[in-house]
Amino acid sequence: MASVSYVSASRVYGKDTPPALDSLDLDISDGEFMVLVGPSGSGKTTALRMLAGLEPLDGGRVEIGGRDVSDVPPKDRDIAMVFQNYALYPQKTVADNMAFALKMQKVPKADRDRRVMEAARLLDLDEGLLSRKPRQLSGGQRQRVAMGRAIVREPKVFLMDEPLSNLDAKLRVQTRSQIAELQRRLQITTVYVTHDQVEAMTMGHRVAVLSQGQLQQCATPRELYDNPVNQFVAGFIGSPAMNLRTAPLADGGARLANRVLPLPAAVRTAARDANLSELVIGMRPEHLHLTGGQPGQGPDGSGELTGEVILVEELGADALLHVRLPEGGAPIVTRTEGRKPPAPGREVTLRIQPEEIFAFHPGTGARLAG
């Protein structure tokens, strides 16, 4: 049990390349499930490997339990890691795989066996599997063995590097909740790397969003969704992704599809203070509602958009409509009830509340206060 801190932690691979991780400051409290999420090349794996001791630091430091471990070899950091491809020793049995670290620590055999059995029970690993070799196991079983190998060490920190990405979709969802539940039970600080924002949102107590080596925002899943600090986070978190459009400023709002979308006064002030003539507006698919009424500004001051349905994606419970606005560009995606979605080709009107419209600086991508 321990907290983890990154203090201006940096990693530079080449002189002419931008840093893989640029001065990361992040505090992870004891027992927290922290997810590092971002697209490939965002530095999330680098950050994890630094914590593991597999990647040296070019600046700053990493602390575990308040102790600077930047120069401590991996085995002495009291951590356990689950690798994306599991990295099980192919020549060792499942039990030996799980017990290997304990053997290195010279834990007595009886004690090792007991801890392996406990971990196996915790993970619903059949006892018969313990004497098998990894290649005789299914993907899901291998994943659990990799988890088991981490658990038997009873480490201060769990590190997980995309541990679910080699599983099929159904198993991934299942294992996702199992890992989250297990972490809650064991109360061991966990740093979890993924590129999948759904995993990040569902598993993490807090989520750190990284892009191009820089920490964009670290907050609870709800906060990330409700209050993204910039355009990157807004576009990355949420599925389907937020609709982002550049729109010129107009009196009382932003002009989109020959219509003025009303913006909150605070946003308009912020845009005026920044001397902007246009801004990026973001609308989440689930905030756009189909309306049967006539186009124009809604009765409650909401904004409206009209366009043609070009694609309907049925998801069962609901459906996604891809709506092309008269001015062209990427279609606007909206989530609607699944039972009777409008057919492609139909003209529809979408309504959105002004406070649900996000606005971003077109140059910096920073959120305009709203």
Binding site: I79, M81, A87, Y89, P90, F100, Q105, R149
Partner: protein, 282 residues
């Protein structure tokens, strides 16, 4: 369904001449390589009088007489060959594994130069080195000693072995080594417990190639040994009498000398293919 069958017929026919052509060529090449070996084995079973006829006789009464003759006096040569081959191969593996490790998994500084140096030693014709080698062997009193052959065969096979083992080690997934580091395995444990079990097919094929090269080596043996360390290839040469017929006798001795290599190759065929193609699987 029918449409597919209709289209498949003519295409198969079109491809047929090409396939036959390649098959004929492959067989021709294979037979061309195999005929001398076959001739050697057949001749070994002929009486000396039937061995050197032209055109070669294919109908004859097989005899083991020449084998019996060849075996006599072979003992010490066989022993020397086994000692030099096994000894040098063990040494090659003992030295090659750490060397390959230092050039792949945890590369030392200037590892490229090291790697090039290893292979560059194979570029020099061995004839150029035989003079100095002779002088060195003379002064170290190793001339005509089995130790000299063990050392020289080790040196001869080491560069190739290092290159081979290195390429196998590069195939070991990086994450496995990292997992071992996290688990607290030291260097020795990392090599012995993680790397070696994975590359064992590669090691077997490396050892096999070293065995074959050492077993068949003649030049160094003939120049640096006389009797105390003379190997099987030398026996073949010495079994050629000054006068009289000797072809059948020579073939019998050569057949005996080839048998171990063929047996070893046969047994390890699968592991050899697996080892040599390790890079291809990934």
């Amino acid at each position: 369904m029918t449409a597919i069958t209709v289209r498949r017929g003519p295409r198969r026919l079109r491809e047929l001449p090409g396939k036959i052509g390649w098959a004929v060529l492959a067989w021709a090449v294979a037979i061309a390589f195999f005929i001398p070996v076959l001739w050697m084995v057949i001749t070994a079973f002929k009486p000396e009088s039937a061995a050197e006829t032209w055109p070669p006789k294919f109908v004859f009464t097989p005899t083991l007489a020449e084998f019996r003759l060849a075996v006599t006096g072979m003992g010490p040569f066989l022993l020397h060959s086994v000692l030099a081959t096994v000894g040098s191969t063990i040494l090659v593996l003992l030295l090659g594994v750490p060397a390959a490790y230092a050039l792949s998994v945890h590369p030392v500084g200037r590892w490229r130069d090291g790697l090039f140096f290893f292979i560059s030693t194979k570029m020099l014709p061995i004839v150029a080195a035989i003079g100095p080698l002779y002088v060195i062997a003379l002064h170290t009193h190793l001339l005509d000693s089995i130790w000299l052959l063990v050392i020289l065969y080790t040196a001869m096979n080491l560069p190739l072995a290092v290159w081979m083992i290195r390429s196998f080690m590069l195939e070991v997934p990086k994450e496995l080594l990292e997992a071992a580091r996290l688990d607290g395995a030291g260097r020795l444990r990392e090599i012995g417990g993680v790397i070696l079990p994975i590359i064992s097919p590669g090691l077997v094929s490396t050892a096999l190639i070293c065995v074959i090269f050492a077993w068949n080596e003649l030049f160094l043996a003939i120049n640096l040994t006389v009797t105390n360390a003379a190997t099987l290839p030398m026996f073949l040469i010495s079994s050629v009498p000054q006068e009289g017929l000797f072809i059948a006798h020579l073939c019998a001795a050569a057949t005996i000398a080839s048998v171990p290599v063929i047996i070893v190759g046969w047994i390890a065929q699968r592991s050899l293919v697996r080892g040599l193609s390790m890079g291809a699987i990934k």
